[in-house]
């Protein structure tokens, strides 16, 4: 049973703090508009980066929710509502995408009429890389994501009320098909909005690479949000050391998966050394991009790998949060490294536009997240596996 003393509703104080996030979002948005008039190019680069980072958090959460439903997992029940709510941020992200959808000519080189007529590789790819199809796909991606995120959040909330165990079976079945649609949408979104920034380059692994990063970012965020809720007096017993330990294990595992995909993509391109493929890494070996490229294996893989290995770290919340925060920053740097060299080939320059874009999108996303989190219980109270989840034990000697 959920302990009676545990707070399962978002406190009024935190609900109110959503307003501050909304304020931060508005300030960020105003800054973005001002900066966009000054330098449209820099603004779009920063905005696309920040957007992809927050999209990664929500897509990772959507994946987490579906996998947990599909695997009929019990341990994760008490953290699932947070992920369900975070996944539903795709709705506000769909709105926040409008500035990007309206700026395709400034983002992509391949939409230019001259390039489309003369560039051999762009001509070959024109059946895929053309604006009408790009918009059709874009609508399809967000339809899939918003539809799935809404379905899982809404069904789970309904279960809070009616305690209907058959909804769990339904969600499990939907998750199977949902994951297939999700995988396609995620892969092609990464192709369209990140990979095609350099229309000459291609990597069939790129979709998985983006995906691997989103899942790592999601686990980081889930750990940090749970810990924050705990610190503010919520979920004191419902999310306990055993759950944090498992989130830590999955964070560790998925970070190794990210490394495997990242290295797999790199080593095949590096070894074959075919010009149109190698260009991607060649552009990222220039100036300060080289430093960031080298940061990825060391700071995204090696250091967190050693740090998160011991269960003593994963079972100490402060240490786990440090690891999660570290990796969350690295996930942002990874996305920055994917997108920004296309806009700033000479070297990285993190500036005011990046801060403004993060503030705007982060502010609106946090506001929307807290608003939805406050509308229902913080845990899926009607889930038939909740009992099992609350008594879960990793069997580590205490």
């Amino acid at each position: 049973m959920v302990e009676a003393s545990d707070t399962l509703r978002l406190s009024a104080k935190l609900q109110k703090s959503g307003t501050y996030f909304l304020g931060a979002g508005i300030v960020g948005a105003i800054l973005c508009v001002v900066l966009a008039f000054q330098n449209r190019h820099d603004f779009l680069a920063s905005y696309l980066t920040a957007f992809c980072f927050f999209l990664a958090l929500s897509l990772g959460s959507l994946f987490f929710v579906m996998v947990q439903q599909l695997a009929r997992s019990a341990w994760s029940v008490s953290v699932r509502r947070i992920a369900e709510t975070l996944a539903f941020n795709v709705l506000i992200l769909a709105v926040l995408f409008i500035p990007l959808a309206l700026s395709v000519h400034d983002i992509f080189t391949w939409t230019d009429a001259h390039v489309r007529a003369t560039d051999h590789l762009v001509i070959i790819k024109s059946a895929y890389l053309n604006l009408p199809f790009l918009y059709i796909r874009l609508i399809a991606y967000f339809a899939v994501w918003v539809g799935l995120a809404w379905y899982f959040l809404n069904t789970s909330r309904r279960q809070d009320q009616n305690r209907d165990a058959s909804l769990t079976q339904k969600m499990g079945r939907t998750a199977a098909g949902g994951l297939a649609l999700y995988a396609l949408a995620q892969t092609f979104f990464a192709f369209d909005w990140i990979m095609s920034l350099d229309p000459h380059w291609f990597s069939t692994m790129f979709g998985v690479y983006f995906f691997a990063g989103t899942v790592v970012a999601q686990y980081c965020m889930l750990i940090l949000i749970s810990a924050w809720l705990k610190k503010t007096g919520h979920l004191k017993t419902s999310v306990n050391t055993e759950h944090y330990h498992d989130l830590g294990k999955l964070l560790f595992g998925h970070n190794v998966f990210w490394t495997y995909i990242a290295f797999g993509q790199f080593v095949l391109i590096w070894y074959a050394n075919i010009p149109e493929e190698t260009a991607f890494f060649h552009h990222r070996a220039v100036g300060s991009w080289k430093t960031i490229s080298l940061m990825l294996p060391w700071c995204h893989f090696a250091i967190p790998f050693l740090f998160l290995m011991s269960h003593n770290v994963k079972r100490r919340l402060a240490a786990l949060c440090f690891g999660a925060l570290w990796l969350l920053v690295m996930c942002f740097i990874d996305i920055y490294w994917m997108i920004q060299p296309n806009f700033h080939p000479a070297g990285a320059h993190f500036g005011l536009t990046d801060v403004a874009a993060l503030l705007a999108i982060g502010g609106f996303c946090s506001w929307f997240f807290l608003r939805n989190l406050g509308r229902a219980s913080l845990i899926p109270e009607g889930d038939p596996r909740l009992e099992l989840c609350l008594s879960y034990d990793n069997g580590i000697p205490k």
Partner: protein, 185 residues
Amino acid sequence: MSHATPAMKAPKTFGLLAEFGSPADVYHAAEKIRDAGYKKWDVHSPFPIHGIETAMGIGDSKLGWIAFFCACAGAFGGFSLQYWIHKHAYPLLIGGKPMVAYPAYVPVTFEPGILFTAFGCLLGMLVLNGLPRLYHPTFKSSNFKKFSDNGFFVSIESKDPRFNVESTRSFLQSIGARNIEVLED
């Protein structure tokens, strides 16, 4: 000569074997034995008992560290082997890459790392468990045959500094043990 020859020496005491009625009984007995400060003892049960490690006061296994150092040794060995071959023993230009092309070394660094970890885990587990072992003094007890069926036992070894046949026996009795036997080596 009144001294016995070594071959005739009286058998040494291995320890005491005590039976308990249920998994719950043996679990609580384990907590009391742990709290009494015994170190060289074990619980025998037909199936794993949840939380028995905590009740027995067993800390973290050393196996993780053994595996970690084996992994480091394997990875270091795999990397050094390639470095030595390409730099000194048999320099060969492959695909226009530098002689020491680190990215290409990753798979072969990884594989011995995994291989050595597997060896370390298996052999380390065997050594820590005192295996392989064909004989154990508990086999002398006919009552102990129940350990794989419906018997829950505790054995306390005479090697334990707190061990004393009489006081340990009465301690075991006080925590609800029955069929207490002295095991000989």
